[in-house]
């Protein structure tokens, strides 16, 4: 009996580890939408079956080698055939067939086209950041943001997935499985957040040097809040309100920033890097790598490769005052 204690203790430790970690803002086991919920439900069922089958096989083979002294074999030829046919063919065939049907049905349900009232967002991936385009009723209502999306809670959202350089994969585990973004192909998927919340999505296909740090924030907001956010994002950048931010804008427009970035409402219109029109409103910098705070923003401008080695943003050397002004300006772009 003492020998059974160690595995039991181990199993307990494993169970605790397993269950404590499931919740999270990037977890397939903490579903917040209908598709993720279906997949998670199926997952738990197959984990249960899997554990039972593993336990059964383990008991069987341990039993098969257990012998008392001088004990004779306990399985006859006929018994062995029956055993192999039942345990090796019949039972697996039934379980696998049922699983195939269940899996195919689940797959079909989560892949059905979204309802007509779905919001469409175009997700564009590049090495190593995300751009999101919201199509409004008129061009003036079009909104563009980077590395952060808002979606209306309780309403389906359809994503058009575009890759501009290499293959990436769009994945928000709490809401749905992933879908690849392949250059030259147009994939679509849809998902829905049942309730307001904030989660994280991350690129799931190896895409080069900084694949590891290519994430984005997903915010599901109540419909009204979402509409407010969308209207703000569609608008042009706010005018600087004080001297510091005005100076900051001058620094911005006079620096190499404008070669890659755009701030709608100014002369900066480049599309190589993320659109900064409302960068101050975002929660993170560098595609979900650091929080968007004053200190991190400064660090990111001055030394992007310290945070994300090898990314495509060059370091910008500015006098301290200019940098402070630039940070103030960027922070004001809310």
């Amino acid at each position: 009996m003492r020998r059974a204690a160690a595995p039991a203790a181990l199993a307990a430790v494993v169970a605790v580890l397993l269950l404590t970690g499931c919740a999270g803002d990037q977890s397939a086991l903490d579903p917040k939408g209908p598709q993720a919920a279906r997949i998670a439900r199926m997952s738990w069922l197959i984990f249960g079956f899997g554990a039972a089958i593993l336990a059964a096989v383990t008991v069987l083979f341990l039993n098969a080698i257990r012998r008392g002294p001088g004990e004779e074999p306990r399985l006859s030829e006929r018994g062995a055939w029956r055993f192999v046919i039942v345990a090796g063919v019949a039972v697996p065939a039934v379980i696998l067939f049922a699983f195939l049907a269940y899996s195919a049905r689940t797959g079909n349900i989560i892949a059905t086209p979204p309802p007509d009232d779905a919001l469409t967002i175009q997700a564009v991936s590049r090495q190593w950041w995300w751009e999101f385009n919201y199509k409004g009723r008129s061009p003036s209502e079009n909104a563009r943001t980077a590395n952060e999306i808002y979606i209306p809670a309780g309403r389906p959202v359809r994503f058009e997935l575009v890759a501009l350089d290499v293959i990436h994969s769009f994945w928000i585990p709490n809401l749905h499985g992933k879908m690849d973004m392949i250059p030259g192909r147009r994939n679509t998927m849809w998902l829905q957040a049942d309730h307001p919340g904030v989660w994280r999505g991350q690129c799931a296909e190896f895409c080069g040097l900084q694949h590891a740090l290519m994430a984005f924030v997903v915010v599901a907001a109540p419909e009204e809040e979402f509409q407010e956010w969308l209207a703000r994002q569609a608008s042009e950048a706010v005018e600087p309100a004080d001297a510091a931010t005005r100076r900051g804008r001058e620094v911005f427009l006079g620096s190499s920033c404008v070669l890659c970035h755009s701030v709608r409402g100014t002369l900066a219109l480049a599309t190589v890097g993320p659109d900064l029109t409302h960068v101050g409103s975002r929660r993170t910098l560098a595609a979900g790598t650091t929080p968007n705070t004053r200190g991190h923003l400064g660090g990111w401008i001055a030394d992007p490769h310290g945070i994300k080695p090898g990314n495509h943003m060059p370091a910008t050397q500015l006098p301290a005052q200019d940098l402070t002004a630039l940070i103030a300006y960027l922070e004001s772009l809310r």
């Binding site: 899997g50 006859s76 190896f206």
Partner: protein, 640 residues
């Protein structure tokens, strides 16, 4: 030829043995290294070299685990990490798993079928040099910072010229095609040897299961490897001469690469795994001390696995955006393959159940295999489901899954096989105590390393990331995995020490220390250079257990040249004699020429033509008839 003066007249057997040694021995000394063609010599080289690469790739894995032990560590740069994980995958797949299995097959299969050498010995040596040169070139690139960094799957456009402008991806594209030549050569060799050189009486339905497994594997190599050779040559052309096979704008596009790569890539898993199943069969039968239960079912399962292995490749592409119905078909095929695996596992369990098992290190590794492989198989069934895979794909769940399948399904049986056949290889027993300790460390270390990865994947950690940010809830599990990796390393180290120790101090083994059932145990340990003085004659499925008579043997093979007996494919009735060539430098030179063709191709396409014509000239020289062969052909072989 033998001179009667020097031969002791009273002992013709000793004289025959001396003559056999003279005929079959390999040259020694430095130039001699490049000459041997004997099957066991080549097999040993394959095994030792493959384990060398295994250690290299293992060290890479350990360093990667250190980097991931804590969020945002700066132990490895992303650039280095990407090279490491690519080299780890490429090495384990192409430079360890396939070659080591081939090595075991080349060493053991001819012994098991009771012949003196393989059918095409010089080609065998050529295959080894290709493997060696390819591997060394890849690591030479690594040493100068040119290791591929695009993953062992090398998806374009990332692996294309635009996004990987340096030679790194060229090292991948051309060397993969080159190294595959070795696998293809060995596959053809093995098929021919197994078909044509079995001991008289060893009809197909008496062949040891290990040999069956090798036969199925060899056929799979023949049908799977060319796809990746074509694909990687296309990639090389895309990179060097600007073709558009995988260009995003082109008609083929990145998805064509994925189809071709996985059409090879999935069978590849079974190419690694099926020989291991053969080893499990050898070990289970021996240590259950009774004939394997369900021989026919086991053979049919191997064949079924071989066929089904080709129908699964799309399950690596469930997130590409293919039609649902097509994907469901591949789910079905992927689930179906669980059945032959299940049949085999339950046949082995039944064998143990019906027998009187003695638990020794090889059997311990098989028991470990039962547990780990079953778990890996179950997660395999899970990821065969499209919706589940959409969450699990390209996360650490997958990393956990395939390490359970590959280490559990392949490395554990291989370790068992190593302990099992070590006495045959070296003539000495490994220490049982160290064996048990190694097993315990490996089993615990393996599970501690890889089990947490299942959860890591499900809570959102993607694969192939060099780091992760704080606050994701991944820290503890990653740390545990890293600790496990250290234990795992210790486990391998104990076996390495055991091997070295036993080489010098191990107990003398004798011909058949485990009372095994197949013919490799019918000769001395290690076997003499000619394997069998008189190749055995087989009367049943378990020749060593069927009271072999000393008269059950082949007589009349000439000792003064390399003669092997050719038998019929189905029933193994004696049919003729083949005279095999002896040591030769041509295989090495041919491998060099082919190496120039492939390796030079990354620098300039003209090298391909240089290598092609050089290889042709060498092939002509190789086959140019020697003086002896110009004499009128022999009608009668005997000198009387």
């Amino acid at each position: 030829m033998s001179s009667p003066e020097t031969a002791p007249l009273h002992d013709p057997a000793a004289e025959e043995e001396r003559q056999l040694v003279r005929t079959w021995r390999s040259p020694t000394g430095f130039p001699g290294w490049f000459l041997p063609v004997n099957q066991r010599e080549i097999g040993k080289r394959f095994i030792v070299t493959a384990f060398g690469f295994f250690i290299a790739a293992g060290i890479l894995a350990l360093l990667m685990r250190v980097q991931l032990a804590h969020p945002r560590l700066e132990f490895l740069s992303p650039d280095l990490y990407n090279q490491f994980f690519t080299m780890h995958g490429v090495t384990m797949m192409f430079l360890f798993a396939i070659p080591v299995m081939e090595g075991m097959a080349i060493y053991l299969a001819p012994l098991m079928i009771g012949t003196r050498d393989m059918a095409l010995p010089r080609l065998n040596a050529f295959g080894y040099y290709v493997f060696l040169l390819g591997g060394l070139l890849l690591y030479a690139g690594f040493a100068v910072g040119l290791a591929p960094d695009v993953g062992w799957f090398a998806y374009p456009p990332l692996a294309g010229a635009e996004y990987s402008p340096t030679l790194r991806a060229d090292f991948y594209a051309t060397l993969i095609a080159f190294i595959e030549v070795a696998a293809l050569v060995a596959a053809v060799e093995l098929v021919v040897t197994i078909f044509k050189q079995r001991a008289p009486g060893m009809s197909l339905n008496r062949m040891p299961l290990f040999v069956w497994a090798i036969l199925v594997t060899a056929f799979m190599i023949v049908f799977a490897m060319p796809a990746v050779m074509v694909a990687s040559m296309m990639l090389a052309l895309d990179r060097t001469v600007g073709t558009h096979f995988f260009a995003a704008s082109g008609a083929g596009g990145p998805v064509l690469w994925q189809h071709l790569f996985w059409f090879f890539g999935h069978p590849e898993v079974y190419i690694i795994f099926i020989p291991a199943l053969g080893m499990v069969s050898s070990i289970v039968g021996t240590f259950a001390r009774r004939p394997l239960f369900g021989y026919t079912a086991l053979v049919l399962s191997l064949i079924a696995t071989g066929f089904l292995g080709f129908g699964l490749w799309v399950h690596h592409m469930f997130t590409v955006g293919l039609p649902q119905l097509a994907m469901s078909f591949f789910t079905g095929a992927s689930l179906l393959i669980a059945i032959p695996s299940g049949v085999q596992i339950f046949c082995w369990i039944a064998t143990l159940w019906m027998g009187k098992p003695v638990i020794r290190t090889p059997l311990l590794f098989v028991l470990g295999f039962f547990f780990i492989f079953t778990l890996g198989g179950l997660t395999g069934v899970m990821v065969a489901s499209v919706p589940f895979d959409q969450q699990a794909h390209d996360t650490f769940f997958l990393v956990a899954h395939f390490h359970y399948v590959l280490i559990g399904g392949s490395v554990f049986p291989l370790m068992g096989g190593l302990y099992f056949w070590w006495p045959k290889f070296t003539g000495r027993m490994m220490s049982e105590k160290m064996g048990v300790a190694s097993f315990a460390l490996l089993f615990i270390g393996f599970n501690v390393t890889f089990f947490p990865m299942h959860e890591l994947g499900l809570i959102g950690m993607p694969r192939r990331v060099y780091t992760y940010v704080e606050g994701m809830g991944w820290d503890n599990l990653n740390f545990i995995a890293t600790v496990g990796a250290a234990v795992l390393t210790l486990g391998f180290a104990v076996t390495l020490i055991n091997a070295i120790w036993s080489w010098f101090r191990g107990r003398e083994a004798g011909p058949n220390p485990w009372n095994g059932d197949s013919l490799e145990w019918a000769t001395a340990s290690p076997p003499p250079v000619y394997n069998f003085r008189h190749p055995p004659v087989v009367r049943g499925r378990w020749p060593m257990w069927e009271n072999p008579q000393p008269e059950d043997r082949v007589t009349g093979l000439r000792p003064d040249r390399r003669e092997v007996l050719i038998t019929t494919v189905l029933d193994a009735r004696p049919q003729g004699i083949a005279v095999l060539p002896g040591p030769s430098i041509w295989p090495f030179l041919l491998a060099l020429a082919v190496c120039v063709a492939f390796g030079g191709f990354m620098i300039h396409p003209a090298f391909f033509l240089v290598g092609f014509f050089a290889a042709f000239a060498i092939v002509v020289a190789w086959h140019w008839p020697g003086e002896e062969e110009r004499l009128p052909p022999w009608k009668e072989r005997t000198r009387e």
